[in-house]
Symmetry: C2
Subunit: 310 residues, 2 copies
């Protein structure tokens, strides 16, 4: 996918983070997985929710990012998650991402305190932007209230976009509420604020509404079908493609998603160590793995060149 | 308060963290506040929810803790909060606290993912304990589901206490549900698992149930009355003391608690910089400050030697 602008667009995946039995990140498998995703035209939203990013320290994330760059992977196709509860952590990781030339960063609000005010969230984002103090910064807000507990309301986006145009570059909407996505597409997308759906379930609707693409967990395991819809969404079979994507995602979504995707990669590659997750997550048990394997057999699901990951 | 055992007991406060206008922690005011609390017989649960601890990086917390020790404050009276979403962060800060000789640590579960399994939470705590690998470690679990989003259920406590007796030393119960506290007092307190109420509202009931005391935000601003009940809870006026404590707390609880307590200290000491909070929190506005001042005038509320904080 050759970008036609310097704005990030298309299909991104919150890249799964491979661990060893000792819960240490495995930089080699991580790099191989990232390279494989790029080969499928999937951009690298490393350090997202499905990456177990908040289970990683800032130092661990820096080392993993540095490893990707040292391996020659293009920073321009990366959108690392850099949000944190602590301002200093968010500034450190964001600054590092900008210095590395990352195309953008995906930023959670601070997520410990709940029910915080719009003013407080505005200050949180503004403090990171001021702390990074770099015109190259491109922030994609991360709206995932069911996990973070801290929604990003429309008036906050309005305020940030007005005060920090260009720097506040878009959003990943993982709320699963189409009316919210539609409101942002109508109100903010025309102002250069790129709306990414939080899963492929809303990919076609988002593209029809003028949005930029999607950032989706299942990009880790089902990239080619998702990318095909992105590239051919104006074709006559787009609705049928969307229905197939929904069925493929459902094969995973009946399990805890992160362990299920890791189990699927372990199945496809024969590498059992792909199953490891960090606490507080737990890997699928043997019965769930069997169920998952059966479930994946029932859908048209491919991982091209999975051997490259092994 | 001379401890009669090496187990922590009595009144502790999640120590407010003073910031400058630039949001940097102020180690001098922090140390003065901690010394003042110790003078009131209040132990130092530094880095709790009311300390804005999750808005601080691990490095910032280490520096603040080191500053207290360098100032000669006794580690045996400290119960720093060391829980974190990332295992490496929790291990680093916990190990540092143990190495410093802290009496215990107060440990949140990893709090990003919601709805995680008991097995996952067990592994999270066990991984920290194994990572620290020090028999001196004393962990107080931190149950504050309304903020963390991750409750600590009774079967998890049972399992941890059985596997790690002594190391799993107690709990701060900030759920505000007396039936839950009562169940723990009955089931776990006799096994040497010390139950601390999460606020003074349940102090008398907790002590009557055999519990260890309370860890309470308003210990920062109303220590003497709370400590008095702890020391005299068998006296005839205990219920009346409890009623007064409840009224005093209510004077704060009508505002966002952290900014309100900081505003109260600013009022009592004349140091306006005590008002600063880190995003995503917001300080009280002028109208709220007036209301707070009036509200405090309406209750019998004292901060002895507040000048020591200025």
């Amino acid at each position: 996918m050759t970008p036609t602008t310097d704005r990030l667009q298309g299909i991104f995946s919150p890249v799964l983070t491979p661990f060893g039995a000792d819960f240490r990140p495995d930089p080699d498998r991580f790099t191989r997985h990232c390279r494989w995703l790029l080969d499928q035209d999937v951009g690298l939203a490393v350090f997202g929710t499905n990456s177990e990013a908040n289970s990683l320290s800032v130092a661990e994330k820096r080392r993993l990012l540095d490893g990707l760059l040292a391996a020659g992977l293009p920073a321009s196709r990366m959108m690392p998650g850099t949000g944190a509860c602590a301002l200093a952590d968010a500034v450190e990781l964001t600054k590092h991402a900008v210095d590395c030339g990352c195309g953008g960063v995906l930023m959670l609000p601070p997520f410990y305190y709940k029910g915080v005010s719009e003013e407080g969230l505005y200050r949180a984002y503004a403090s990171v932007i001021d702390g990074v103090a770099d015109e190259r910064l491109r922030i994609y807000l991360y709206h995932i209230p069911a996990v973070s507990g801290v929604p990003i309301p429309l008036p906050l986006i309005e305020r940030l976009l007005t005060r920090f145009p260009r720097i506040v570059a878009g959003i990943k909407d993982s709320a699963g509420d189409w009316s919210h996505t539609a409101a942002m597409l109508q109100r903010f997308q025309p102002r250069g604020f790129d709306v990414f759906a939080g899963s492929e379930n809303f990919l076609l609707a988002t593209l029809r509404g003028g949005g930029a693409g999607c950032i989706t967990a299942t990009g880790n395991v089902n990239p080619s079908a998702i990318v095909r819809l992105y590239k051919t969404w104006k074709h006559a079979d787009a609705d049928e493609q969307q229905r197939q994507l929904d069925a493929q995602r459902a094969a995973f979504a009946q399990f805890p998603m992160i362990p299920a995707m890791k189990a699927a990669i372990a199945l496809k590659t024969g590498r059992a160590d792909w199953r490891h997750v960090r606490p507080p997550l737990v890997e699928l048990d043997a019965a769930q793995q069997h169920q998952l394997a059966a479930s994946l057999d029932g859908v048209d699901f491919t991982m091209p060149n999975a051997a490259a990951l092994a």
